[in-house]
């Protein structure tokens, strides 16, 4: 087996087994448990009061913006990982060490500017 792929064989096998396990325990209940649906059970739970409207209404744009900002910052973090793992190695190379250090400092400064802007514009106020 190619050593490049070998570690991924257990990933696939265990992935399939875990999916199977989840399916089996969910299905077991389906066969073992009773199923007696009544009108009262079918109504969504709202503390004993019958629902007056569908819950699927439009929600605040805040949630959407949080997801957007998460996406952007997640990308920035992804760019930092390889550098972080290699940083101690970069520092051994005397000529390259300042480039590695200041290069990331620049990146992080720009990232912080984005965060600062987002904070100052009140994107994080949820009142």
């Amino acid at each position: 087996m190619d050593p490049n792929y070998a570690p991924y064989v257990p990933v696939v096998i265990i992935g399939i087994l875990v999916v199977g396990l989840a399916a089996v325990i969910l299905l077991a209940n389906r066969f073992l448990g009773p199923r007696r649906t009544t009108r009262e059970k079918a109504i969504p739970y709202e503390s004993g009061v019958d629902p007056v409207s569908t819950p699927r209404q439009r929600f605040s744009v805040k949630f959407y913006m949080t997801a957007m900002l998460f996406l952007i910052f997640d990308l920035e973090v992804v760019f930092i990982y390889p550098w972080a793992a290699r940083y101690s190695e970069f520092l051994r190379d005397n000529a390259f060490a300042p480039i590695a250090f200041w290069g990331m400092m620049f990146f992080v400064t720009i990232l912080s500017l984005g965060l600062l802007y987002e904070w100052k514009r009140g994107a994080m106020d949820w009142e």
Binding site: V19, L26, Y45, R56, F63, S88, A97, W126
Partner: protein
């Protein structure tokens, strides 16, 4: 290794680690959680479920766990009528599967030293992307709660689901960024390398104390437990995103949650507490052959489990001590305090390493 051997070991490790250890600990934890909360609130906790009414050591423990498991199996498998049936069915599995897959790269015991080729017997998959794999799988766990909430067609569920998603993604950035300092100091993203390096240098909690705090806060928020349990805040949202869930589907959700707690504990133990490194026992001392290798391995696995149980205990302690945040406080804490602190931690670590190079 040949394909056949790989498949065989995959199966063996699945049975031993996932079924025999992860599922077991998560199940026991469902009871231990109640016992610990009882102890903290000066109560007795569940003690009535005995096996055939007989009293013997741990009978209440075993009885309660068995009773819980049987109960959820034989309860009605409720489906909301106006909701989305298929999404409602698969959502609990979407919560459980990522929690279990995170264990693929967590090492339970000593592996080959960095740079040495060899099979890692205590890890299911020795991927060279290491902990980034955990982050990738953990990012999948947003879907279970969110989809389940949406499929339920209930107002409480939907609000809980929205809160879950917004909270989890907000703290995911901090979670990812908090470990960057660890990657820098120990020079790798593979848990095995990080643990070996912690034998030579100090443990992660000594070199990166701020990262430990940030990681634990973000991890508790990711597992949706108090003080971050807004998605299931019972005083506002009934049961939050799983209001419309009962029987096994509910149990699978909570099983996923408990497995997540154990996974967080395992990662924290590996990264911050030296994993299977025995305190004050130097790695070179172990290499010269004066210590019996077999018993040493047993001791190392045992010490890893002790560290893990310690972090689980810490999480439980936090959960039963602190009151819940308000929603705007939660968002503010994540974006305005924790994320800048994580960036600050990165800068300081980089600066110190640069100066001391």
């Amino acid at each position: 290794m040949s394909m056949g051997e790989l498949i065989l070991w995959g199966l063996v490790k699945f049975v031993c680690i996932v079924l025999g250890w992860v599922m077991l600990v998560a199940t026991v934890l469902t009871l231990m959680e109640r016992k610990q909360s009882a102890a903290m609130q000066n109560r007795v906790g569940p003690n009535r479920a005995l096996i055939f009414g007989k009293k013997f050591p741990l009978s209440a423990f075993l009885g309660q766990i068995l009773a819980d498991a049987l109960k959820v199996l034989f309860k009605e498998d409720y489906e909301p009528v106006n909701g989305n049936k298929w999404l409602h069915r698969i959502a609990p599995a979407l919560g459980l599967i990522p929690a279990m897959l995170m264990w693929l790269v967590i090492p339970f015991g000593p592996g080959p030293p960095p740079g040495v080729e060899g099979h890692h017997w205590f890890q299911m998959a020795d991927l060279n992307v290491g902990i980034i794999f955990i982050f990738a799988i953990a990012s999948m766990s947003v879907y279970g709660a969110t989809i389940g909430a949406w499929a339920s067609n209930s107002a409480f569920s939907l609000l809980g689901g929205l809160r879950t998603a917004a909270q989890m993604i907000s703290y995911e950035v901090t979670l990812g960024l908090s470990l960057v300092g660890i990657f820098m100091i120990y020079g790798s993203v593979q848990l095995n390398d990080i643990i070996w390096a912690q034998g030579d240098m100090a443990w992660g909690i000594v070199t990166q104390p701020l990262a430990f705090v940030l990681f634990m806060v973000a991890a508790v928020a990711e597992t949706k437990r108090a003080p971050f349990d807004l998605p299931e805040a019972e005083s506002e949202l009934a049961a939050g995103y799983f209001t419309e869930y009962s029987s096994m589907r509910f149990a699978v959700f909570s099983l996923g949650e408990f497995i997540g707690i154990v996974a967080v504990a395992a990662i924290a133990a590996c990264v911050f507490l030296g994993g299977w490194q025995i305190p004050w026992v130097e790695t070179p001392l172990l290499a010269d052959g004066t210590v019996d290798y077999g018993w040493l391995t047993v001791a190392q696995v045992a010490i890893f489990l002790v560290k893990m149980v310690f972090i689980i205990w810490l999480q439980m302690q936090i959960r039963w001590t602190l009151p819940r945040f308000r929603y705007d406080q939660l968002m503010k804490l994540g974006w305005v305090y924790l994320l800048p602190l994580a960036i600050f931690n990165l800068v300081i670590t980089a600066l110190v390493m640069y100066v001391l190079r």
